[in-house]
Every structure is written in C-alpha cells, then in structure tokens.
Amino acid sequence: MIAHKTIRMTVNGTTYERSVEPRLLLSDFLRHEFGLTGTHVGCEHGICGACTIVVNGDSVRSCLMLAVQADGAAVETVEGLGTLQKLNPVQAAFQDQHALQCGFCTPGMLMTITDLIKKYPLASDAEIREGLSGNLCRCTGYEHIVKAVRALVRQPGSAP
C-alpha cells in the first residue's frame, strides 16, 4: 500500500485539507471529493481541453496534474466563475452569442478563455481561433465561440 499524502488546497476561495492517494488526478479529486462535476473529463491525455481549470492564475489540464501537486495551490473551476443570477463576463458573452450547444466543452472553453484574455491581445479572429485550438467542441459550434471571445475583447473593461 502506498501512503496517502495530506494536502491543503483552496478551491474557488475555500481552503480544504484532504488525504489523497498520489496517483489521484486533480480532475477526479475535484469531481469526486467536492462534487465539482463542472470540470468535464473527455480524454485524460490533454487533447480535448474539457478538463481545463485555473491553478495559481494559469489555465492547466486537470487530467495532467496530480491532486498532490496542487498542495498549497489556489484552484479555480467553472463553478467559481459566476452564479445563475449573476454570470461573469465570459459566461455572459457565451449566453449572448449562443456559444454553447450540449455544453460538454463549455467549462473548459470558459476557463481557457479566462486565461487567454489575460495573456494575449486576441486582436484578430486568427489569434482567437489559435487560442481556442486546444479545446474540442464536438457539437462544432466554434463560430459562435469565436464570436463570444470577439465580443468580450472588444468590450473595454469586461475582463473579469
């Protein structure tokens, strides 16, 4: 038996302490331990982007990180973005532009875009598309997702 490790992690603003098996993926930890099932799991090898979350301010694939590695980290998941009553600007742009269909890819898209708009000017559609290229949408509603990002970056002061 491999010993569990004790970790402390802030998830969407609340700090928790838990004991975990080293091999537990951060995606599974968030989903199973906290019921944060907004973090979707599509491929578990970094390809689909559905599991993207933000750790210490940077977007990461939660299927490619171990829960033990996030010891001491501040983790943000899609559940932390806004509420039904008050969507955050990225979510509101998705609603306005009809940027989701089945919604499977949406959490990963929202978390990716949260980081993209901080790090890149996204001045052209080509740049927006390149930024989104690591997230697959099997409903293939990419056009509206690009529109949502375009609306977001053209709206000064909208960055969350």
Binding site: I2, E44, S59
Partner: protein
Amino acid sequence: MKPPAFDYIAADNLEGALSALSAAGGDGKVLAGGQSLMPMLNFRLARPSVLIDINRVPGLAYVEATGSTVKVGALTRHHALEMSPVIKTHLPVVAAAMQHVAHLAIRNRGTIGGSLSHADPAAELPMLTLLLDARIGIHSPRGRRITDAGDFFVTSLVTSLEEDEIVTDIEFPKPARESGWAFEEVARRAGDFALAAVGVTIDARDRKCEQARIGLMGVGETPVRAHEAEALLRGQRLSDTLLDEAVASIRSAIEPNTDLHASSDYRRHLAGVLAKKAIRDAWRRADGDRQ
C-alpha cells in the same frame, strides 16, 4: 484511463531530487510539467514505482543572457520562453517556433527540460537545440556533465540520459545580431505536433552566405541537421539553382516515417517546400531586411 499506483516525492532541492532518483534504481521518473509523462501514465505506457516531482526545486526556471550565450533553466515553462524578451531579442527563431508548441494550458506547464528529455522527434525544442548547437547541462550523483545537443538525441523518445540523471540547464550560443533566421511548420491543427518543420539561420557577408544552419523535425527518429545542404550554401550567393540543389540534398538526406497523419513521401515533399521557404526568408533577413 487512470495512472497505475506509484509513490510520490516532491523534491525541494536538486540534491534531494537526485538522491531520490538514484534510490529508485531505474524505477523512478522525474515529473516536470507532466504534459508528456502524465498522458503516458494515464495510458499506463509508463509504470514507475515513484515519481520525483521537481516543480518545487528552486533555481531551475530562468532565461538569462550572458556575453555570448543565452542560458535557460530546465524548468522554464514553454509559455515563459514564448514571452521572454531575452529570447525575442537574441534567439528570434526560438520565439517564432514556440508559437507552434501545443496550446496555452499545456505551455503553462510544459518545460524545456521535459521536452528535451522526452525527445519526441516532432517536437520543436529538441530541434532548436540541435539547430543552434546548444549545450545541455546534466546533474547526477556523480556530478555535472555537459553534452552537445547532437549527442543527446539517440532515437525516438530515447536520449543519452542515464537513469539517475536530471537535465538542469540549456545553453544556447547567441547567433550574431545580424544573423537571418526562419522557422516553418505544417501541422494538422494549430498546436498539434508537426508533420514536418524546418528552422534555418544564416550569417551573410557581402551577400554571400558565411554559415548556414538547417534543422528539421518530424522527418525521422530524431531531429536532424542538413549538413550537406549547409555546406552547399556556404560561401555562395543565393540563386534559384542553389536553392533547388539545397532542397534536393535535404530531400535525399531524410528518411521520414509513414503514420496515420502523413506518408513518408508527403513528409519528404513537405520538408523540401518548407526548407525552400525558410532558407529564402532567412537569407533575406541576413541581407539586412529585419522584418
């Protein structure tokens, strides 16, 4: 899938990481960005008994210009390299190539040391170290050694690293300021591994090529240098005939694989097309066009 069971050690200094790795006796794996190792664990293609996480080891993430070189710490993330003003100024070919490495969420985690150690033949950083004659600094319980990039890549996913060694730093010689450069890649989607890519640097004087470097990736078991084509260009003025000769020499020197994504013939053809464009662009920049 889920990874097999393993123990986990978060090293807080290099000595700790080295001793944990050698204590594992070949059954341990260094965990850096995890962007290649974690997929392999999830697929159970790797089954180490212990992971030695080096993410908390201080002093391994930096980009520094010295008089004649640029030094990069092994734990430098791809996104940091992509954004680094030192890289933009001194190694513009690296800055251009980093745009093609994966996607932001992967660049936020993936490291140069991990990319070199993983040694994917279609990866950008291994090819860039070979192109620029970089030297790779390695630590083990026996001390420090330095190896040329040319001696580091053995075959696909295999390097000359011993099982108790850790890559700690990479030193790129600074090309001359007026050196021309170009990087050309074709991949199925932005951020995918390349079907083929070419990096070129050219030093020119009086419109003649003094030195050319041509590196290719995705066209064999390791990244490669086109030494014969480099020799063809040396001392010459650029002409269409010379370009065609260089391209023909590159196409006959490489032995690309056929896989799901492209045939060997297609890759050979593509490598020539990309090389032609890259040599022309690098030469134009070397001739003083800084655009």
